[in-house]
Amino acid sequence: MAEVLVLVDHVDGEIKKVTTELLTAARRIGEPAAVWVGEGAESGKARLAEFGAEKVYVAPAELNDYVVAPKAELLAKLANDASAAAILVSATPENKEVAGRTAVKLGSGVLTDVVDVDAEIVTEHSVFGGSTITHAKVTAGIPVVAVRPNSVAPEAAQGAAVEEEVSVELSDAAKGAKVTERVVQEKGARPELAEAAIVVSGGRGVGSDDFSVVEGLADALGAAVGASRAAVDSGWYPNQFQVGQTGKTVSPNLYIALGISGAIQHRAGMQTSKNIVAVNKDPEAPIFELADFGVIGDLHKVAPQLTEEIGRRK
């Protein structure tokens, strides 16, 4: 069976959930081979094996010293050497760029924001703010596919996870843009927005930069915090938490929208959430068209009560 390369997302050796999703999807197509860049493969390997990785390619951390291009050189080389059936990456902004450059090198095609992929590498996409479902395929070369986090349910299956060190001789072109510093901003204890199983978002209805009503509920649920553009533009919450067309695309099991009207651009970033709960004082708010459960009311009353109720039931 042909290898399917899966680019591993990890933070210092700790594997992100999306990687287990990609390994699960890769097994439909062929034999998953994880591609690990940087330190920590020793500790992360067990988890890759648990989700069916037969091989783990380990490449040196120096690849992270330059923007995107080194990873593309690595993936293209591995894919060519192994005559891989496909390459799967998570559809994060950075990995979509990696996917694009890799496909150029391979002379193949790239499919992004994929919400499902089958054994024949036909992909499903949710486009135009979730209003249209498309199916697509790559018609030339080794398909490079960027899959949205939370799209595929991870299923365990034992793999051998045989480690193989790889070295790449980076081209000069790959070293053009050097990362000279990494700045970590208020990460905190909350899960990462794009990955989180639960997201609680606040909009203009929150009313001020005091987002504690949103954060309190998020923390009770172990959720990530998101924000509408109106809240971000008002300076109430940092830009990297914006959900929507020009922000993050999230697809959690549960999305709770507090004081968000549900504009099409916001929906574009959360419409594929499995369960949607909305609290809004306007019964006509379009967000209710999406909601599995909605409360017409003041979020400053409903959310704190919900937070307390969750605490009580734990």
Binding site: R101, V104, I133, A136
Partner: protein, 269 residues
Amino acid sequence: MGVQGGWPPAMNIVVLVKQVPDTATERKLSSDDKTLDRAASDGVINELDEYAIEEALLLREKHGGEVTVLTMGPDQATDSIRKALSMGADKAVHVNDEALHGSDALQTAYALSRALGRMEFDLVVLGSESTDARTGVVGAALAEYLELPQLTLAGKVDIEGRAIKVQRLTDYGYDVVEAQLPAVVSVVEKINEPRYPSFKLIMQAKKKPVEKLTIADAEIDAAKVGLANATTETVDFAPAPPRAAGTIVKDEGDGGTKVADFLAEKKFV
């Protein structure tokens, strides 16, 4: 490739602009060839490209030089060119050829790289993502084709002489990325606040030069662009099935409890 250095270091900047269907209108694919149905909705300039134009104008104000708009698209795309010129760009290049219809993201990057190959520039600025296709790969693919440093997802750009430094947005905050010009920069929304065109600039824009290029002019290989040669194919499309109607209740002082019941039923608590 024509890349301008020289002293004093005036900056020649090319801004990439894409015309997209207005997100506020209903967007569709065409049943004929499964590409974007441009007749179905109004065309507007891709929102992030306004930020790219603004950044180019700010850099020109600081360093001197010229801002050239480059777009690839059908006749209607002239609307977006006008908008970019009326924000203050100096001139435009419009690659317009029936052979380009249905090009995918990589083919688009290839075609743009060819057009750029015959222009003189120090910097290419583009949006990090379009609102219609949203692939977010054009900037990276362009850097690959041009073999230039990729400074994408930039929230801040600083240039000193030939050295460029950007803050590249990441999940955890940002990376500081450094390179030498010429380079490709894509911008995110937080980078600036795009200006509104003034009446004077709108009038002036009508007289600014717009160069029209066919694929032959730009030396774009016809075998590498267009629907027939695309590296990806849309197999089918359909409207998304409507979500099952949910339960909407009015808060009677127990709204939070009712949500908790719903969450318990779904096993979230």
